[in-house]
Point group: C2
Chain length 333, copies 2
DNA sequence: ACGTATGCCGCAAACGTTTGTGTGCTGATG
DNA sequence: CATCAGCACACAAACGTTTGCGGCATACGT
């Protein structure tokens, strides 16, 4: 089975008594402009035969000729992370809409792996790259930009690059404002990794509001761990190990928050009566477990990140963007 | 910037005074067999210059010539689903190890979208496909196989196709055996979609054990919903709407289980004292919230699914495989 | 009637590989 | 000494597109 010869432009042209160039032009013309290339009758014949034979352009041949692949690479820390998976979904939706295809790879937030997978994608001749794993302390992105590789950042930002992020400073402020206004004065923060702008900005915004209420950074119990549930559990173990117990915990990630809640409940500590917990991102799990959290527009970040990359590839001028977060009060704070 | 001419075989050959064919053969020879193609001195010269100039094969040109892309397509219901994201991670790891690249797309379990995205990947000339979203009632996969497209299934199985799954019947049995042995007699099941073999097998195994203990299917409160947390919440609303309250709930998915637990707790029902809950897959969240669950080897499923696809592409004979699940007792049952 | 514009289409080169076939050479063999 | 078997490489075609450059009609303007 499947002995059918692949149908190429030559097949169609031969069958129609035309030259491949004519067929190519008609098929590739943007809708409405076919008339520039052939007579109405010919156009119909070409389109009908192409459809009947199920012609599909060979993208490798086209890419070879044009040196554009219509492929964009996406590097994320990890697709297992719901947040990044969702952002990727936004990217992919935008890509699909523009007729392009995305290729995604996990960097595990490891600079060596980030470099490895990126180079592998570049070897595949992607037209541009979207990074969801930008580190504050890594020069690799700068190096890429200097090489002339079009790239944008999502989720995390970094000076000197086009990025689409949540306004995480504002998000951190929302969390702090709520907790302060409900009377808490002693705080712990479950922060992610220091190399992520999300961590820095969310914590920064949070602390700024506390400072405005006379609570200094030294009074706040800061724990830099990770972005997943186990990290939240570990952080709680640490936090409860100190002598002063906080009245509220701000986790910069819903999963860490849920891990924290699990750890608190296991110890018989009531949420929010004993300790309030606020998460970040508003994932479905947050909704399911009634977690108070900060909603970030993940899909939108992906979409915009892709659109801006396209603009960059087309040599247009592009600015970064910070999307507005929203506070959603549920029952944990 | 980036005005550097791309370095091709011709560049290298010209610089070395050789023919492109020689350079190509040496560079593409599997390690150790270069000696077949050139003198030791020439081999060294080629390899050194290639490395120095940073030569990278143009995959489009190569694919055009060989009509193999070294690309494999992956179709999943949704990458946002941790389970599928993890399986994909296994696939991608295996692909990376074999020097291939994966392209993934979400079908949202919608047959029309599955078809659409698959055809789009085929148009990109993938060498084969891995499906994580096989439906029991859709003939599309059969049609593809008949067209001669190499494909394997992961997570879900379907008669007539090579698949790598968890032994879900055994998994369902594990859950039931535990619940029965701890004295429960009245059950509800939060099942996923009927078109998924995972649902069918897990529920089937569960019910089989109950039957062996004299509990008929008609006595069990079965709810076919979805695989996520909101589905678990909805199911609980339904389940508690009936007059007899179950002593245990088996959810065929951890996220549904967590949604269920959230819904139960909101109603002041204690888990596991009033109602026990068992999930499926053993995701990190399950561990974080102390959910009793059935562990399924997700990464391994992905790896094997890819390896088997490779074998299929190479026209080797391949058999399906069912991986053994493991019961992990925590504090919800 | 003559030049010019326009509509419709063909020619051919090029993109960078891979790979079947060929060729001159060296050294060993009968 | 003629032959022959490698060895180390070169030649050239082909994969399927895209695209600059024409060419030949027919229609149009003056």
């Amino acid at each position: 089975m499947d002995v059918t010869e692949p149908v190429t432009l030559k097949t169609l042209a031969g069958e129609l008594g035309l030259n491949v160039s004519t067929v190519s032009r008609v098929i590739n013309a943007e809708p409405g402009t076919e008339a520039k290339w052939a007579s109405p009758a010919t156009i119909r014949r070409i389109q009908e035969l192409a459809h009947e034979r199920g012609y599909a352009r060979n993208p490798h041949a086209a890419s070879l000729r044009t040196s554009r692949s219509d492929l964009v690479g996406v590097i994320v820390p990890r697709l297992q992370d719901y947040v990044l998976a969702t952002i990727y979904e936004g990217i992919d939706a935008a890509a699909e809409a523009s007729g392009r295809v995305t290729v995604v790879a996990n960097s595990l937030d490891d600079p060596a792996r980030q470099r490895l997978r990126t180079e592998s994608l570049l070897a595949r001749r992607v037209d541009g790259l979207i990074f969801g794993d930008a580190h504050q302390d890594s020069p690799y992105l700068d190096e890429l930009a200097a090489r002339g590789v079009p790239l944008t950042l999502v989720s995390r930002r970094r000076a000197g690059h086009v990025s689409v992020t949540c306004d995480d400073i504002a998000g951190g402020r929302l969390a702090a404002t709520h907790l302060v206004s409900t009377g808490r004065r002693r705080f712990a923060v479950i922060a992610g990794a220091r190399y992520a702008s999300t961590t820095l900005d969310r914590v920064g915004g949070f602390l700024a509001v506390l400072a405005e209420h006379g609570i200094g950074e030294s009074e706040v119990d800061l724990h830099y761990t990770g972005f997943d549930a186990p990290a939240g559990q570990r952080a709680i173990a640490d936090i409860l190990g100190t002598d002063t117990r906080p009245e509220a915990v701000f986790a910069v990630n819903d999963f860490a928050a849920i891990g924290a809640i699990g750890a608190l409940q296991k110890r018989g500590i009531s949420v929010p009566d004993d300790i309030a917990v606020v998460g970040y991102n508003d994932t479905p799990i947050a909704q399911a477990v009634n977690l108070t959290t900060v909603r970030s527009p993940m899909i939108e970040m992906g979409r915009l990140g892709f659109d801006k990359l396209l603009a960059l590839i087309d040599k247009e001028a592009v600015d970064s963007e910070r999307l507005t977060p929203e506070f959603v009060v549920r029952s944990t704070a």
